[in-house]
C-alpha cells in the first residue's frame, strides 16, 4: 500500500473538510488518519490516505487538489509519504 499525505493550509471557512473528503471519496481514496487544528484563524490539516484503489496517479491527484484548493483560497498538497519519512526519520 502506497500512502499519500495531504496537507491543507489556509484561511478557515465553512466546508473545507467536506469538500476535501468528497473529492477523496469520489476518487476512491481511503482516509487512514486526520489531524486538524486552527491557529489564529488559519486552518491546518494533514491527512494520511491510501490511494491504491484510485486509478489516477499521485501527480494527477496532486494537480486536481491544488486546482480546487485555489478556488477556496487554500494551499493543498498531495505527496507520497516516503518523502516525509526520508526527511524526518532515520
Amino acid at each position: 500500500m502506497k500512502k499519500t499525505i495531504i496537507t491543507v493550509l489556509g484561511h478557515d471557512c465553512v466546508g473545507i473538510i467536506a469538500k476535501v473528503c468528497t473529492y477523496l471519496a469520489e476518487n476512491n481514496i481511503n482516509i487512514l488518519d486526520i489531524s486538524q487544528t486552527i491557529t489564529g484563524g488559519y486552518f491546518n490539516m494533514m491527512m494520511i490516505t491510501d490511494a491504491s484503489a484510485c486509478e489516477k496517479s499521485t501527480a494527477q491527484i496532486a494537480e486536481e487538489m491544488d486546482a480546487f484548493g485555489k478556488t477556496m483560497n487554500l494551499s493543498i498538497r498531495c505527496m507520497q509519504e516516503d518523502i516525509f519519512n526520508s526527511m524526518h526519520r532515520i
Binding site: I5, T7, L9, D33, S35, T37, N44, M45, M46, I48, S57, T58, A59, Q60, A62, E63, S75, R77, C78, M79, Q80, E81, D82, I83, F84, N85, S86, M87, H88
Partner: protein, 454 residues
C-alpha cells in the same frame, strides 16, 4: 507516523523556501564510441546517448509529480570528449562536429545541458587534448546546450601552465565569439584543479574514466531552507548555529537520496552519488550570500566572510554525510556571483571583490564562479587568475574552478544579463598589474611536497 508539524515543515520548505532537487544528471561513458572514423564516432555517440537517456526527463517529471518536490534540471554528463575523439579527430574542427552531435542528442532527449566537452590535462596535453581546447570557442558558439571543462591541475600532478596559458586565450576568444549574447559562451566553460569524476552540476560535469557505463548522480540544493532555519536562532552561540545547519543539511540530503534511488530504480541505471552542494539561483530567497548575512555579516565579502563560509561548508558536509552513504561531486557551498541575488548585491555595493572571492574559495567547494570582468582584460591576466585558483586547489587538496566571463565591450560597473539560472552580474574590477612574464614561461608547476604519500 509523521506528525502534522513535520508534514507542514516539509511542505513549507518546498513552497516557501525554494527546496528543490537541483539536478538529476545521468553520467554516460562514451569510451566504447571511440573509432578511427569520425562519422562513426558521431553516430555511435548520438545513438548511445539517445538510447540510455531517452526516459530521463520523463522519469524526473514523474518523480517530481509523485513526491511534490521540484526537480529543476535533468542533465547528462559524458566521458571527456578529448579521449573519445582522439582517434578520429585530426583538426579542432573535427572535435566541433562531436560538440554538434552532443547538442543534437541533448535536444532529442530534452535535457537542458550536456557536460563533458572536456580534456584532462593536469600533467600535459596530448595533441587531441590541445585540439579540443582550441576548438572550445567555436564549439561554444555553435551549440546551445554543450558545456565544456578542462582540468589543468591536481595535487598529485601539479599544474600544466601551458594549458593555463592556452586557456586564458581560449576564454577570451570564447567571449568574443559569443559577444552578441553577453559573452555567454564563457558561462559554459570551467577550468578545474582536482576535478571530481562524478560532479552532477554544470558547467563542470563530465563522466570520469573511473566510472561505470552509466550512472545517476543527484545534486540537491536548498540555501533558502538553511537561511530560514537560521532565522530562528539569531544571536545564538556557535554550537546552536552549527547544529541547526547540520540538521537542515541532513533533511535536504535525505530528499536527494530518495529521488536518486527512485530515479536509479526506474531508469535501471546504478545510483552514483549525492552532491551536497548548496546551489543558489538568482531567485530571491535562494541565496548562499543571504545565509552568510544571516550568520551575522552586513554583506557577503565583509570581514568574517571566509570564517562564516568555512563554518557553513563544514556543517553542510557533516549533516549531509549521515543522510547518504554515497556523497561525492563537489559537495559544499557554491558561490557564483551572477547566480546569487545576495552576491550580486554585495558586488554592486563594492563589498565583494575578486580577491575576497578568491579567499572564500579556499574554504568552499568550488571557485571563482560566474564572475564578469571587463571585456578588455588580457589573456595573460585571465591565465594569471586561473593559475592562482589552481594553486589554491593543488596545495589544499581540494577542487577549485574558474568560470570567468570577460564581457566584450563592457567595463567596470556595467551590468551583463544572461537570463534564467545564469542570472545577471555587475562587471567587477580586476587587478590591473601585469603577470605576462610569469604566464609566458613554458612547462608546468610541480606537484607539492605533500602529494608524495607513497
Amino acid at each position: 507516523m509523521i506528525t502534522m508539524r513535520e508534514a507542514a515543515e516539509t511542505v513549507h520548505m518546498i513552497t516557501s523556501e525554494n527546496l528543490d532537487v537541483r539536478t538529476i544528471t545521468m553520467g554516460i561513458s562514451l569510451l566504447d564510441c571511440a573509432d578511427p572514423d569520425l562519422d562513426r564516432v558521431n553516430e555511435k555517440i548520438y545513438r548511445k546517448i539517445t538510447r540510455l537517456a531517452k526516459d530521463l526527463v520523463r522519469t524526473g517529471e514523474e518523480i517530481s509529480g509523485e513526491y511534490g518536490i521540484p526537480i529543476v534540471n535533468k542533465r547528462i554528463s559524458v566521458t571527456p570528449v578529448a579521449l573519445v575523439g582522439a582517434g578520429a579527430c585530426k583538426r579542432p574542427e573535427d572535435f566541433v562536429t562531436i560538440a554538434r552531435t552532443l547538442d543534437a542528442a541533448a535536444h532529442e532527449v530534452g535535457v537542458n545541458f550536456i557536460g563533458g566537452y572536456s580534456a584532462l590535462v593536469s600533467k600535459g596535453m596530448t595533441p587531441a587534448d590541445e585540439m579540443l581546447i582550441r576548438s572550445i570557442p567555436e564549439a561554444m558558439k555553435c551549440t546551445e546546450r554543450v558545456c565544456s571543462s578542462v582540468n589543468v591541475g591536481s595535487t598529485k600532478c601539479g599544474i600544466d601552465m601551458d594549458a593555463v596559458r592556452l586557456l586564458g586565450e581560449v576564454v577570451r576568444e570564447t567571449a568574443e565569439r559569443t559577444a552578441d549574447a553577453g559573452s555567454i559562451g564563457c558561462a559554459k566553460l570551467v577550468v578545474f584543479c582536482n576535478a571530481p569524476d562524478d560532479n552532477p552540476f554544470m558547467a563542470g560535469a563530465f563522466h570520469g574514466v573511473t566510472e561505470g557505463d552509466a550512472v545517476i548522480n543527484v545534486g540537491v540544493s536548498g540555501p533558502g531552507v538553511v537561511k530560514s532555519a537560521l532565522e530562528h536562532v539569531r544571536g545564538a552561540d556557535f554550537e546552536t548555529l552549527c547544529e541547526t545547519i547540520k540538521k537542515t543539511a541532513f533533511k535536504i540530503t535525505r530528499v536527494g537520496q530518495l529521488v536518486a534511488q527512485e530515479a536509479s530504480r526506474r531508469l535501471g541505471v546504478p545510483f552514483g552519488i549525492i552532491d551536497l552542494s548548496l546551489a543558489p539561483t538568482p531567485a530571491v530567497g535562494d541565496s548562499v550570500a543571504d545565509i552568510l548575512c544571516e550568520i551575522g555579516l552586513e554583506y557577503a565579502g565583509a570581514p568574517g566572510t571566509t570564517a562564516a563560509l568555512a563554518l557553513l561548508n563544514d556543517q553542510v558536509k557533516k549533516g549531509g554525510v549521515m543522510a547518504s552513504s554515497y556523497v561525492g561531486g563537489l559537495s559544499g557551498a557554491f558561490i557564483p556571483v551572477s547566480e546569487d541575488q545576495g552576491m550580486i548585491k554585495a558586488a554592486q555595493e563594492g563589498a565583494l571583490t575578486l580577491e575576497k572571492l578568491e579567499a572564500m574559495t579556499c574554504v568552499c567547494s568550488v571557485g571563482l564562479d560566474m564572475i564578469v570582468i571587463p571585456g578588455d582584460t588580457s589573456a595573460a591576466t585571465i591565465s594569471g587568475i586561473i593559475a592562482d585558483e589552481m594553486a589554491i586547489g593543488m596545495v589544499n587538496q581540494k577542487t577549485t574552478a574558474v568560470r570567468l566571463i570577460p564581457a566584450v565591450g563592457k567595463k567596470v560597473g556595467d551590468r551583463v544579463e544572461f537570463g534564467g539560472l545564469l542570472g545577471y552580474a555587475p562587471v567587477m574590477p580586476v587587478n590591473p598589474y601585469s603577470c605576462e612574464a610569469f604566464i609566458g614561461r613554458r612547462g608546468r608547476i610541480p606537484a607539492p611536497i605533500h602529494s608524495f604519500k607513497n
